[in-house]
Amino acid sequence: MTITVVCFKGDGDRVVQALQEAQEKLDNADGEVLLDFSGVRRVDPNALRAMEEFTGAAEARSVKVTLCGVNVDIYKVLKLARLSSRFSMVN
């Protein structure tokens, strides 16, 4: 299984950009994508939309999406936005 690691730094805009880039690589991924959120302090609606789209695309390709390093504030945002169940989470 191939694991692709995508690291984020900064806030929402960088997340959107990084996810868009990662999404382009999804066609070549055949295992799991690990999104490293340890550098992310806040997310905005665009980031959430991008994450939702990304998981949709990953699911369509049977690629598992795992988030790591998500801080509790962002974890709560994902819960409120009903997105947390779409991801696997690791600390």
Binding site: V43, P45, R49, I74, V77, L78, R82
Partner: protein, 886 residues
């Protein structure tokens, strides 16, 4: 623009609505990350934008709805922004919002998430501005559903707020406004799982739909504001205020005045003042025309065409001739209700007036108006008579009772009074609402209470003075008294103890003796004693005896000092003495006063220092336990000369009672370091000296130490209480006539093992950190010098040592040894278990006894002493030292 049909929603429509909710949900989720500073940075420019657009939005509202007055609507928009901002600006709404350090409680704010908000036709833009500010202040997203006839102006108001909010950091999608919509849209959204709250400001239909949705909802009930204009009022002020309010925005605010009830004495003057300020006073015919024109006679509802219209236009529509500048149509009415339509709500400048012959009639008519569609909403009183204002506030059911100021603007808050500014009036249950508040940003929050563990206040109360050791009775000389009554029994008199006491009483004191039976005090004996105290005008009572005599003296003192005291009521059960419902008579309620000096002649009950007394009423067949620190004797004398002649049996029974007090106080959930020191010392002294006193009754040292031990143990349990051992002993002793101390002894080893084991059910005990009973038993074992390395070993050794002590004292090893058959005991068991469970003693036991455990304990005691089964739950190697934190 809108189509309020009830067609089923199409898939496209559902997708549209789902999109709105998803957007709002995302915005709300993102919003939860913002700080207080972030939020406040957004609110201020929103308020400024609202102020800038106040006139523009007002004009839009009037053009679209054809209701109200542009200038007034502009003013409302300014109140909805500036006044609301003034209220919210310094108030925390994110994270920690309030602290109560003395209670260890802090309140924290949690946003609701997505709010679905209905806004009205009458106050469209001001309501939108108000709700947007509240939502941003509280980090919520809102989906607005404006009244269809006010959609465009509301949409504009939402747009102004939204653009400013997002520009300053609010998440995209935080506000949305339903595009052209129908009732089905509202129904769908009201039931949507992602809508956290419905805030329905609108007509009764919208509010009812909100409350019927099954979602938490804020709704506004209908109004019908009664006004009482009482003769002491400032009439000039009152009339101007009423006109100002009733004509404000052509009467569209639901808090505006509907019927003014005027005292007969001022009625004509008031009407003249109304007329002189531009009101038209309708004659009977004009009133009748209005009554059938502006109100639907069948339903009592307002004719929509009249709502928010000028007085002159209404007059013209119905064919009444009025002066061109008429502000208000005043209609005299003779009653309230559907048969008097003008007594109902009129959101236009028609004001009813009623002439009342008395304050009583005026208040009753106001109540009628209040109940004719305005429950919980708003009421107004003009008066300078405080009694009238208070009575009005008492009889009227309204969330806002406005005094000497205009109803509509007064109810909005912040202008004429210090109420919270709002555009949403909670009407309480009378109006079918969940609150009577002026709805404000706190209603847009889930407020969380973070409650820290607090230590309950504890106490350590003992008699003022305790004299002990041989011949301590001589200290009686120190107490001045004019008339002293010695309460004692015949046996003690025969022993010469009464004479010993008398010799120590100062010569100038008149000392009399009241002999009572040596048995649990009966109400008849108490009554006789109280009569004697009254007869001798006693100022001092000396109780010389065991627990029964001292208990009797405590109750006699209580009844002598407070003849009105109801003993049955004072015996009412309680869980925590500090929170008890029934209070004992206070010092200033006492009609007599007498010092109580208790001299104990047994070494067990410790009644000379306890706040307890037991009383029976043989005739009525009841027994009560009184408990209050006011019962504690003022002085205790612990003089062993009175116990040297105690028979062996009594020495054992009382001595084991003392040991039980100490052991139970030691592990009680009310134990404290203060009581521990006494409990532990009493355990040590009893183990050491009771066998000596038993073997050699004349051993002065042993008698002295046991007498002291009993008092010290009583000090411990007076403050920490006892436990399940006493509950079992009370039930068993009463049923089978076994002396209290012996009954305690039969239970004791079993109860130690029981309390030291892991409880099936823990007892709530805020003052203890974890379960400590087994560790405290281990400490007692250490104090006694028993072997053992682990807690479990030490507890087992304590049980064994207790059994050996009881064996040494000749205490029967089992209930069976008392000659009670198994069948007899089995037959008694249901009652025993019930009575023991009802006994208050176990309420301080460290382990909550289940009824089946009480039964098991009884059966253990029946079978008798044997190897202790203790499962403390501690690691086998756990050391006992320094483990107890209380």
């Amino acid at each position: 623009m809108s189509d309020r049909t009830a067609l089923p929603l199409t898939e496209e429509r559902i997708a549209y609505l789902e999109g709105l909710v998803r957007q709002a949900r995302t915005a709300a989720a993102v919003f939860s990350q913002l700080t207080q500073q972030d939020v406040d940075r957004i609110v201020k420019p929103m308020v400024l934008a609202g102020l800038e657009q106040a006139q523009y939005l007002a004009r839009l509202a009037v053009e679209e709805t054809k209701i109200g007055v542009m200038e007034d609507k502009a003013l409302k928009n300014m109140v909805a922004t500036e006044f609301v901002y003034n209220y919210v600006k310094d108030k925390p709404s994110v994270g920690l919002i309030r602290e109560y350090p003395e209670r260890g409680v802090v309140e924290m704010a949690e946003p609701i998430g997505v709010i679905f908000s209905l806004t009205p036709i009458t106050n469209p833009t001001s309501t939108v501005l108000f709700k947007c500010i509240m939502a941003i202040k509280t980090r919520n997203a809102v989906i607005f559903s404006p009244h269809p006839s006010a959609w465009r102006c509301c949409f504009e108001a939402v747009k102004v707020m939204y653009e400013t909010a997002v520009k300053h950091g609010a998440p995209e999608g935080v506000f949305t406004c339903l595009e052209s919509h129908d009732l089905e849209d509202n129904k769908y959204l009201m039931r949507h799982k992602d809508i956290g709250l419905i805030d329905a400001t609108g007509g009764p239909g919208a509010v009812k739909a909100a409350y019927s949705s099954g979602k938490p909802a804020l709704g506004v009930g209908p109004g019908n504001t009664p006004v009482y204009l009482e003769k002491s009022a400032d009439l000039d002020m009152a009339v101007v205020d009423i006109i100002t309010s009733k004509t404000f925005d052509n009467g569209t605010i639901c808090a505006s005045e509907q019927t003014v009830v005027i005292d007969d004495e001022i009625y004509d003057t008031v009407l003249q003042k109304f007329a002189s300020l531009g009101a038209h006073i309708c004659n009977d015919k004009e009133t009748e025309i209005l009554a059938r024109s502006v109100i639907d006679p069948a339903t009592g509802s307002m004719q929509p065409t009249a709502v928010g219209q000028k007085a002159t236009n209404i007059a013209r529509f119905v064919g009444i001739t009025v002066k061109p500048k008429t502000k208000l149509l005043v209609t005299p009415i003779q009653g309230v209700g559907l048969e008097h339509p003008l007594s109902l709500e009129k959101l236009f400048p028609v004001l009813s007036v009623y002439r009342a012959k008395s304050v009583d009639e005026a208040l009753k008519v106001c109540v009628d108006v209040n109940h004719a569609g305005g429950l919980g909403h708003t009421a107004v009183v003009f008066s300078n008579n405080e009694e009238v204002i208070r009575k009005f506030g008492d009889v009227i059911n309204a969330g806002r009772i406005i005094v000497n100021s205009p109803g509509s603007i007064g109810a909005l808050g912040g202008v004429y009074n210090d109420m919270v500014p709002t555009f949403s009036f909670g009407c309480g249950t009378g109006g079918g609402n969940s609150t009577t508040d002026n709805v404000n940003f706190y209603h847009y929050l889930n407020i969380k209470r973070v409650a820290r563990r607090t230590q309950a206040h504890m106490w350590f109360r003992v008699p003022n003075q305790i004299y002990f050791n041989m011949h301590a009775v001589e200290n009686l000389r120190n107490f001045q008294s004019r008339s002293t009554l010695i309460i004692t029994n015949a046996a003690l008199e025969q022993f010469g103890h009464v004479d010993t006491v008398k010799r120590s009483i100062p010569a100038q004191t008149q000392a009399r003796v009241e002999l009572i039976p040596d048995a649990e005090p009966d109400i008849k004996i108490i009554t006789q004693g109280v009569e004697a105290l009254k007869f001798y005008k006693a100022d001092q009572i000396v109780a010389l005896g065991g627990g029964s005599v001292i208990d009797a003296a405590k109750i006699m003192k209580l009844m002598y000092e407070s003849p009105e005291a109801d003993l049955e009521e004072l015996a009412a059960p309680f869980l925590d003495i500090r929170k008890r419902v029934v209070q004992y008579p206070a010092e200033n309620e006492k009609v007599n006063r007498a010092r109580l000096i208790a001299i104990s002649t047994t070494s067990g009950t410790g009644s000379e220092v306890t706040p307890f007394a037991v009383l029976t009423d043989k005739e009525r067949g009841y027994k009560v336990t009184l408990a209050d620190y006011s019962l504690t004797p003022d002085v205790a004398i612990v003089d062993p000369q009175f116990v040297l002649s105690m028979p062996r049996g009594l020495t054992v029974d009382t001595g084991v009672d003392c040991l039980t007090h100490a052991l139970e106080a030691g592990v009680s959930i009310f134990a404290s370091p203060y009581t521990d020191s006494n409990a532990m010392q009493a355990v040590r002294m009893t183990f050491k000296y009771l066998p000596i006193a038993y073997e050699n009754p004349r051993d002065e040292e042993a008698r002295t130490m046991m007498h002291n031990a009993a008092c010290i143990a009583a000090i411990a349990f007076s403050n920490a209480s006892v436990g399940v051992n006493h509950a079992l002993a009370h039930a068993f002793g009463a049923r089978f006539g076994v002396p209290h101390g012996r009954a305690n002894a039969l239970m004791l080893p079993h109860v130690i093992a029981y309390n030291a084991s892991v409880p099936t059910k823990f007892m709530p005990s805020p003052n203890q950190k974890g379960y400590v009973a087994h560790k405290k038993y281990a400490m007692m074992a250490d104090l006694l010098g028993l072997d053992g390395h682990t807690v479990e070993e030490k507890v087992k050794n304590l049980v064994t040592a207790t059994e050996q002590l009881l064996d040494q004292l000749g205490v029967p090893r089992s209930i069976a040894e008392l000659g009670i058959s198994k069948e007899e005991f089995e037959q008694a068991m249901p009652d025993l278990a019930k009575i023991a469970f009802d006994d208050p003693s176990w309420k301080s036991n460290p382990r909550m006894p289940l009824v089946k455990e009480i039964v098991e304990l009884f059966w253990s005691a029946y079978r008798g002493r044997g190897p202790a089964k203790v499962e403390t739950g501690s690691k086998k190697t756990e050391k006992a030292q320094s483990m107890v934190t209380v």
